[in-house]
Amino acid sequence: MAQHDIEITISKTGEVRVHVKGAKGKNCMEYAKWLTQVIGKVKDQKLTSEYYEPEEKNRIDLKQELRADD
């Protein structure tokens, strides 16, 4: 079992900082893409060393139907 953590900071002005931890390789980017769809537009992005580590065998499942009125 792999532990996937996300830390989200929503500033007073509404700007959002998302830090994905534990998910390696492409899985990490799957979370980033998904949360971008949910929240808004990317202003800045930084890959950390964990991104370059070998990813888990199973790809994460983030299939969803994003509904704007949720």
């Binding site: 996937h4 929503i10 808004g40 704007a68």
Partner: protein, 156 residues
């Protein structure tokens, strides 16, 4: 470790969803809320009352029957904030009040607009995270009003 992204929020939702964020923002800033049908509002503007309008940035209120002709009215002391959907579908905040300058009202409207964005994004993000089986590990609000949420899920 992993990836860090910084995002600018886009506020898109139906009137009830926007109204929920407006209500939460109002509660956070100590404003009283009442939802009224615009046509029913026949209050005459005081001649010495200042008025300022600001747009909620990157916002879109989806057209539906509920949104038509409605507005949220928020009050505190001598200030009134009216939240409406304009003809282009954007969310508009109008601040008015006696004894305030245009600059003061603009600042109040912008502060409220930012709070609405924050509440909207919080509601939307938490809903999506829960839908994907994330559990909240920790959550707090810092002194400067920043919301911090830590969520976790386990993958096979």
């Amino acid at each position: 470790m992993g990836v860090v992204i910084v995002l600018t929020p886009v506020v898109i939702g139906s009137w009830p969803v926007i109204a929920a964020a407006v209500t939460a923002a109002a509660a956070g800033l100590g404003l009283n809320v009442s939802e009224k049908v615009k046509e029913a509002l026949q209050e005459e503007q005081q001649t010495n009352e200042q008025q300022v309008e600001v747009q909620l940035e990157d916002s879109q209120v989806l057209a539906d029957s509920v949104a038509s002709g409605k507005e949220l009215v928020l009050t505190k002391d001598n200030i009134t904030l009216k939240v409406t959907r304009d003809a282009r579908g954007e969310c508009k905040i109008c601040a008015s009040g006696q004894g305030y300058t245009q600059a003061e009202l603009k600042q109040i409207a912008e502060q409220f607009s930012q709070k609405v964005s924050q509440c909207f994004i919080y509601n939307r993000t938490i809903t999506e995270l829960k839908r994907h089986n994330f559990q909240t590990v920790d959550e707090d609000v810092t002194e400067d009003g920043t919301i911090r949420v830590h969520v976790r899920r386990w993958e096979d």
